[in-house]
């Protein structure tokens, strides 16, 4: 009886092996080919994740040294910067603001988004890039924080020039309005927490 069961089990295993082995083998080969392709394309493009990480670290330090402590905290905690607009009637070519204060959100490698902080109304997207055509490592793309710093410098130094250089689009073309609404909510929370913290420190230092 035991012998018969063992023989049956062996037969079943052999049959299963025959049926499954081709698909298992194909999957293994596909996996190996995929890994080789990723490695090849990385080598061809000169992409080195370690170098990119170090580049981003340097870029973050440079950004930190240029913006104020609040802006740095905003970027560190939320991943974007807010810059207040300075043109009297709002961003050129964009929606008019009738004198209401407006601001921009600066994301890495995404369009600059203009909005009205009082109402949260989105005004427009300004698509702008800073391509380095010398492509030292095969890519014209600056590290994320350098891209944000380039936008910040261009906006704070010469807002009109940057806005006229950029391609203007209606909100929502590239940056999801829902994401912006969430980010504005997060920014509000972040600012409130900062104010509370400042209040607590003020009380502590006064006592």
């Amino acid at each position: 009886m035991l012998l018969a069961l063992s023989a049956t089990a062996i037969v079943i295993l052999v049959l299963l092996w025959e049926v499954c082995w081709p698909s298992i083998s194909e999957r293994i080969e596909r996996h190996k080919a995929g890994r080789a392709r990723v490695a090849d394309s990385d080598t061809l493009n000169g992409y080195d994740p370690g170098r990119e990480r170090r580049a981003e670290q340097r870029a973050r330090e440079l950004l930190r040294s240029c913006v104020n402590e609040e802006e740095w905290g905003m970027y560190r905690d939320l991943g974007f910067l807010r810059v207040w607009g300075a043109m009297a009637d709002g961003p050129q070519r964009g929606s008019r603001t009738n004198g209401a204060p407006y601001a921009y959100l600066l994301y890495p490698h995404k369009p600059v988004v203009a909005y009205l902080p009082q109402t949260g109304r989105l005004l427009s997207e300004y698509c702008v890039e800073f391509p380095d055509e010398s492509r030292p490592y095969g890519s014209a793309r600056l590290p994320d924080s350098d891209d944000v710093l380039a936008k910040w410098m261009a906006l704070t130094a010469d807002e009109r020039r940057l806005i006229t250089t950029a391609n203007m689009h209606l909100p929502g073309r590239q940056v999801d309005p829902k994401q912006i609404k969430r980010d504005l909510w997060r920014l509000g929370q972040w600012e409130r927490a900062r104010l509370r913290e400042a209040g607590r420190s003020g009380r502590v230092s006064a006592s």
Binding site: A55, L62, V128, Y137, D146, W152, M153, T156, R161, N167
Partner: protein
């Protein structure tokens, strides 16, 4: 009194690199800085000086000529010029 000034350039895959450094009060070093400044602009880069405005507000000042760089600036940052994106 002015002093040492550094020229930094943003680079893809690297972060910033030091392009030149020198003391603007030393004529020979100032000349080298001027040449380095021209080279970067000839390569199509923009140049900005991070500054602190009234009330401690941080901002940047774009410079198109060496003379426009504040004498007391400690660094000038060169970055690729802006282009309209898609």
């Amino acid at each position: 009194m002015a002093g040492s000034m550094r020229f930094l350039r943003m680079k893809p895959g690297h972060g910033e690199i030091l392009v030149a450094a020198g003391d603007v009060d030393v004529p020979e070093e100032e000349r080298e800085l001027i040449e380095a400044f021209r080279r970067q602009l000839d390569e199509g880069l923009w140049a900005a000086v991070p500054t602190t405005g009234s009330g401690g507000r941080r901002q940047a000042q774009m410079v198109r000529h060496f003379d426009e760089i504040p004498r007391d600036a400690d660094r000038v940052i060169f970055f690729p010029r802006a282009a309209g994106g898609s």
